[in-house]
Symmetry: C2
Subunit: 327 residues, 2 copies
Amino acid sequence: MKKLIAITSLILMSMTVNATQTVAIAIHGGAGTIERGNLTETQEHAVRAALSESVEAGHRILAAGGSSMDAVVAAVKVLEDAPQFNAGRGAVLTHEGKVELDASIMDGASLAAGAVASVTGIRHPIEAARAVMTDSPHVMLVSQGADAFAKSVGLEFKEPEWFITDFRARQLESVQASSHASVQLSEDWFSTVGAVALDASGNLAAATSTGGMTNKRWGRVGDSPIIGAGTYADNASCAVSATGHGEFFIRHVVAYDICARMRYAGMSLNQSADTVINDVLVDAGGDGGVIAIDAHGNISMPFNTQGMYRASIDGAGDKTVAIYGDD
Amino acid sequence: MKKLIAITSLILMSMTVNATQTVAIAIHGGAGTIERGNLTETQEHAVRAALSESVEAGHRILAAGGSSMDAVVAAVKVLEDAPQFNAGRGAVLTHEGKVELDASIMDGASLAAGAVASVTGIRHPIEAARAVMTDSPHVMLVSQGADAFAKSVGLEFKEPEWFITDFRARQLESVQASSHASVQLSEDWFSTVGAVALDASGNLAAATSTGGMTNKRWGRVGDSPIIGAGTYADNASCAVSATGHGEFFIRHVVAYDICARMRYAGMSLNQSADTVINDVLVDAGGDGGVIAIDAHGNISMPFNTQGMYRASIDGAGDKTVAIYGDD
């Protein structure tokens, strides 16, 4: 009986602790050149609805005491399935008219991480990244090998055609018809998706998923599956998911640099994220943005482009869904 | 005539400036469990000769006023060709008995970078990494796409068999016969190769090339082709090439972290490299080492394993070639 009381009070105590802990989440659906009027009212409504559904899917898990890892996976899966975003179904097409998907995930408590690059057919690449982390001794798997691994752990596959939307097919045609087609630098919209979260146990997590660049060739891999560039999470500093011109984000190790400036230079989350996006990357000519969250539940979502699809639910439970710079 | 004198004095001045500038280079051929007696005298002689040839190939370029980028490529190519090292010819074999090679390079002056992962058939993967940097708008290309790109820029290819040595074939058989074969964590030798250099113009460069892990599966990619993890160079801090258990080097963004601690925490090169290798990685259980050089020509080569194949020629022209911890 004594034992039962002890256990019961332990459970109650831990519930109380959890109840007073901050949980928070932020998500993005890409950054780039976006002006009011580019989207029809119907399109904008669909985009905002998907962003809202994604951030709520993640937050529900956090509010129920679930882990930040589960929350970021749930949030990203919603955006991978939504055809409006460049990840999973609706991803951009390669030079050969296929989808080749990249994703990565990181656990801020253990620094465990997983990533896949150039995979084809996996419905939810973010689940493949997580499986690499939990079910293999590796961090990064690429191409057919990564597909084979995902099959071996029983992940859901879809036919190549399932991923391709009419919009992306027309987009590829238009890019290939333009004079910039071979340079592949004309893209002004980087609609990677991602999520960062803080759970009731104080653990941070980050996840990113993308189809990369329209008309990409030669097995090009951007920053999204690169731990340190597109994704990083460390309870000692922050969790970051990036979206932008991936080459610049790799060269500047953007996600980890935001963490490093907090740890070593004593910057706040906001200072650090803002410096990297609006000073370092602007000076280098690298377009994009990040979502970032620290262990206190502070959220920062800077971008140096006209807009970034984004949403958040902060520690007070306040939700924002935004697209434009002045949104 | 006045113009000629002006030009001549300009040339003489610049030669004087160059002559007083420090040039320095360090190279590695991997770190791991290595005790005196593991190598026969003949083997050890061959290894030391290759290390010496590599560091001198790079240094000759620097001494003649060449760039650090040219120097690290030249040094790495020597080790890619040497069958003793796990890069290029003589690389370890995958689960399927093939070689899949990774390489990356970074220019500390511009932060330009290039990388290839899981390529097959390119004689010098470091040249493919450099071509990605100079001849494509991208930083990282993987698998068949990267092979196709390398072909398109005219790089030298060899038949698959050319890369495979008897030693590696026996090594794969032995690993696959052991009980640890499926876990792939039994490897205690990480013989990636790499080089870092400072040239007379004050520019740093870093390069890394590897065959990855023996018996690797599923398109596993380690830290070597990951900018930030296995390779980083920034004139504002240092140039780093890493060798070790790649998964740990990715999670801890080792190469960039050494640069970040110098820039943001005011550490010296030695302090920073030593902290990351002997504190951070030892605590995490990650075996390996790095070679690092700063803009003053200071060289640091810490490792937390029994040995690391390494060599350097410092600013005074003094050469070291070493294998063991007390070497």
